[in-house]
């Protein structure tokens, strides 16, 4: 391959409401753009081959693994990461409050992916059963908590819960 073949790709995408324009190397992954280029280190790189769910982001409103997207695939897209959950005054999102109140984390590594997966679930299904919450969260691995308090936190964020975020 020639140098020309590996030229940078001019990327335009919106992340948490802010338009970014930057040149990216095509083999860089979406998570690399977020963490390395934009300094948004809230999205965590876990397994980096699509199994653990830690790097889950919302792409045009739909959950995706950011380790399974090449950087140019973000072109023209709207991205939401964990940094985009808090309100304008940095007040926590109700879902984040619920995770805090239920202690739905220990080391916190899986938490950003859990939050975005849960937000997507509640957007589709504002009143999930506990089984439905468990099924949705099975997309994300947590090696600390045993999941119980994470499920509690999501249940309490559903419509009518103490931290209703629907």
């Amino acid at each position: 391959m020639t140098e020309h073949d590996l030229r940078p790709w001019p990327l335009r995408c919106t992340v948490n409401g802010t338009l970014h324009q930057l040149d990216v190397e095509p083999r860089h992954l979406a998570i690399d753009v977020l963490r390395e280029n934009l300094g948004l280190t809230g999205t965590h790189a876990g397994c980096e081959h699509g199994v653990c769910g830690a790097c889950t982001i919302l792409l045009d409103g739909e959950p995706v693994r950011s380790c399974l997207l090449f950087a140019p695939q973000l072109d023209g897209r709207d991205v939401r990461t964990v940094e985009g959950l808090a309100g304008p005054g940095d007040e926590l999102h109700p879902l984040q409050h619920s995770f805090s109140a239920h202690h739905g984390l220990q080391c916190g590594f899986c938490t950003p992916g859990m939050l975005l997966t849960a937000l997507d679930l509640l957007g589709h299904n504002p009143t999930p059963t506990r089984d439905e919450v468990r099924e949705a969260l099975s997309a994300n691995l947590c090696r600390c908590t045993g999941y119980q308090q994470i499920v509690d936190a999501v249940m309490d964020s559903s419509r009518g819960g103490a931290f209703d975020c629907t």
Partner: protein, 287 residues
């Protein structure tokens, strides 16, 4: 960042995409949803020189009814296959199977054409497509052709497609598409690839006799496949227990199970028998 360097191309038409795939002297991979290719590239098990991103190729999208067939564009995401009203009405087995794939974050990206081309022996859509008698529309810069689904798979992760060929769409006949169906799979964890997966369609006369049936299995060694003798064991019967056991015996005959971390040969045979019974029972319960 894990993948080796590659040239990235994003064609905006099918002819442009096919021209890129026909380029000599370089290893080229088509990128659809990326849920299988990108992990392989991240692990550097795949190191293509050129990646052709199909996302902007409009000819690969769309779901439409034409006569007695439903045509589904290769770039249709699993989430859309699982929820599309036309697919749900005319091809309920396919919609059901698509809903079993991975998790939502996988289904929002993974595609029908990608799943068939990747040819994982335990993937859901190849097995469902076999049971539904699909035809695969394949194109290259040399022309187009139709491949019956039974001639597509050529061993684990292998197909009979040439390097420059691309799946454009998959056509499903509404019969057996609309028949009562059964689908059963065994996976270690929710969302994992199946260890074994069974799909059946059964058509029953008003007097309760089985008029037509298909039985397909995956994850039983080699490629997913139709088990013709199992279907024939059901056709013409009232699907009573002896007929079901003859179908199960036919599945067992067709299997070439391999022992691995997840199960012994005996376990896989037992599971294939169990899932076949479950899928037949599900189809009969729905009629």
């Amino acid at each position: 960042m894990k993948p080796a360097p590659f040239r990235y191309e994003r064609p905006v038409s099918l002819p442009d995409a096919l021209a890129l795939l026909a380029e000599d002297g370089v290893e080229t991979k088509a990128l659809a949803g990326g849920q299988s290719l990108v992990p392989l590239m991240n692990l550097r098990l795949a190191r293509p020189d050129v990646v052709v991103d199909l996302d902007a190729v409009a000819e690969l999208r769309g779901i439409s009814r034409s006569g007695d067939q439903v045509r589904i564009g290769a770039l249709t995401r699993h989430e859309q296959t699982a929820t599309d009203p036309l697919v749900g009405e005319q091809l309920p087995l396919l919609a059901h199977a698509a809903g079993h794939i991975g998790h939502r974050a996988i289904r929002t990206r993974g595609t029908l054409g990608g799943s068939l081309a990747h040819a994982d022996p335990a993937a859901e859509l190849p097995v469902a497509s076999l049971a539904l008698g699909a035809e695969v529309e394949v194109a290259s810069a040399r022309g187009v052709r139709t491949v019956p689904i039974g001639e597509l798979f050529d061993g684990p992760l292998s197909t009979t497609l040439a390097d420059d060929e691309l799946i454009v769409a998959v056509r499903y006949p509404v019969d057996p598409g609309r028949r009562p169906f059964g689908f059963a799979e065994l996976a270690r964890r929710h969302g994992d690839f199946a260890l074994t997966v069974a799909a059946v369609t059964i058509s029953v006369d008003s007097d309760g006799g089985c008029r037509a049936a298909t039985v397909a299995l995956g994850g039983i060694g080699g490629s997913p496949r139709l088990v013709g003798p199992a279907a024939r064991a059901l056709i013409g019967t009232r699907i009573d227990p002896p007929a079901v056991e003859l179908a199960v015996a036919a599945v067992d005959q067709a299997m070439r199970p391999v022992a691995d971390l997840h199960g012994t040969v005996a376990y896989r045979r037992a599971m294939a028998a169990l899932l076949t019974r479950q899928a037949i029972a599900m189809a009969c319960g729905a009629r």
